[in-house]
Assembly symmetry: C2
Homo-oligomer: 254 residues x 2
């Protein structure tokens, strides 16, 4: 294994859900913005926008929708936004039609821009000795979240991130062994669940030892359990949200 400070942080990644009661300095914030800005971007379209949420009332509303007490609490709250509004405005104000901005293709390229920027900022955060947790819960109630964030058409808040000085030291969570996730040339269709037996035991032991939470599900129990079972959830509004925002459409139906 090759070691350097970047890689050592990456291999030591754990989500932080408890932060000290401080906020980022202006210098830290500007550095994260610059890292965001320098992320690779598809076709040089620069389709990502970063919102930094400091308003207490807004933080409280977002926390309520995310239903996680650490969201918008100690530390800094960011929302990473897929943004085709800016490029639509450029086209419109220069006398062009919307072109391909509504297409699934361009939306996916914007998703790429935005999610690469999330991880780039995450790595910068950890390089400064800070911690973070990605917030997928910003899409737990998509239509309400759009209202709270007051976002224009052609935007989509894909992930949030809470950042700060860690006030906990969680255990490293054991990941699927590489034999199940990294392949040379051929994707092996002959996956056999019994080969996960050892990994299941490792995961169960991890939960047994963890202080914060009494859940003791193995990996396969989690995958066969509630989170992937069919159930009603507002998260199924994501398609409706995207179409309402004018995103992810087939161009010939514009």
């Amino acid at each position: 294994m090759i070691h350097n400070t970047t890689i050592d942080h990456q291999l030591d990644h754990r989500s932080i859900r408890k932060f000290k009661p401080t906020t980022l300095s202006q210098e830290q914030l500007q550095t994260l913005y610059s890292v965001f800005q320098h992320t690779a971007t598809s076709m040089f379209m620069q389709n990502a926008t970063l919102l930094h949420i400091t308003d207490e009332a807004k933080r409280a509303k977002i926390r309520e929708l995310c239903n996680q007490k650490y969201v918008g609490a100690e530390g800094d709250l960011f929302i990473f936004v897929v943004d085709l509004y800016r490029n639509q405005q450029i086209r419109k104000q220069l006398g062009q039609d919307d072109g391909r901005v509504h297409t699934t293709d361009i939306f996916f390229q914007a998703m790429e821009d935005t999610l690469l920027a999330v991880q780039n900022v995450a790595n910068a955060v950890e390089s400064m000795g800070l911690g973070y947790v990605p917030l997928g819960t910003v899409n737990d109630h998509p239509l309400k979240m759009l209202e709270v964030l007051d976002l224009p058409e052609l935007t989509f808040p894909v992930l949030g991130m809470q950042v700060g000085i860690p006030d906990q030291e969680p255990q490293l969570k054991p990941r699927l062994p590489l034999e199940f996730t990294c392949f040379e040339d051929e994707y092996p269709r002959d996956f056999k669940v019994e080969n996960l037996k050892d990994y299941d035991e490792v995961v169960t032991t991890y939960y047994d030892l963890r202080d914060a939470n009494r859940r003791i599900d193995s990996f396969t129990k989690q995958i066969t359990g509630a989170k992937l079972n069919l159930h009603e959830t507002d998260r199924d509004q994501i398609s409706e949200e995207l179409h309402r925002q004018g995103l992810c459409l087939d161009w010939h139906t514009n």
Copy 2:
């Protein structure tokens, strides 16, 4: 601005499209796999898979579909795959139905897992003194690419990456100033294209000075030009590809 080796690499990012005729050592490869493995993952579902393409015939076919001479040429070629096949197999082999694996919601969480892993690997690559270029062109001909990669249902190759020792020193490409992309609390709807005048000049100068390419389009000219104009392209097969793969469906229509 805060400086450390991670951040300095991030602020100095440029895509590399010309590599020396070497490939990664086993140690480098295993390190990149480990970084891939330790990326944050939504709901601990671990929905990403990494393909390392070394077979020359396969590399040639991918290069042809991507229509970029550096794809699968010098250096190493990776394909980052959204993967819900593995978790479907776990459920199936343990006697469960597919549950929510076909939903748009779960597909988006898998996109997040996979694209975060792309940038995590990218940062590890640059920390080793290597370079990379993300390959969005793996979706230029989605249906043909699925055949070449021989991928099962519930998978989607979202991005490729060519990695190696840089054999060029491209200029740093000027990005949109932060006032257009990073906002506090409120998304400003009052974007005015005339405020991009200075940035347009910076971009034009960049192209004027660049050796490799004679294109001298400003940013707004690019956005109002061919790449976002309506046109026929196989990239509009992405929706069809996803649905054929059993991904990104509404659960009640499963």
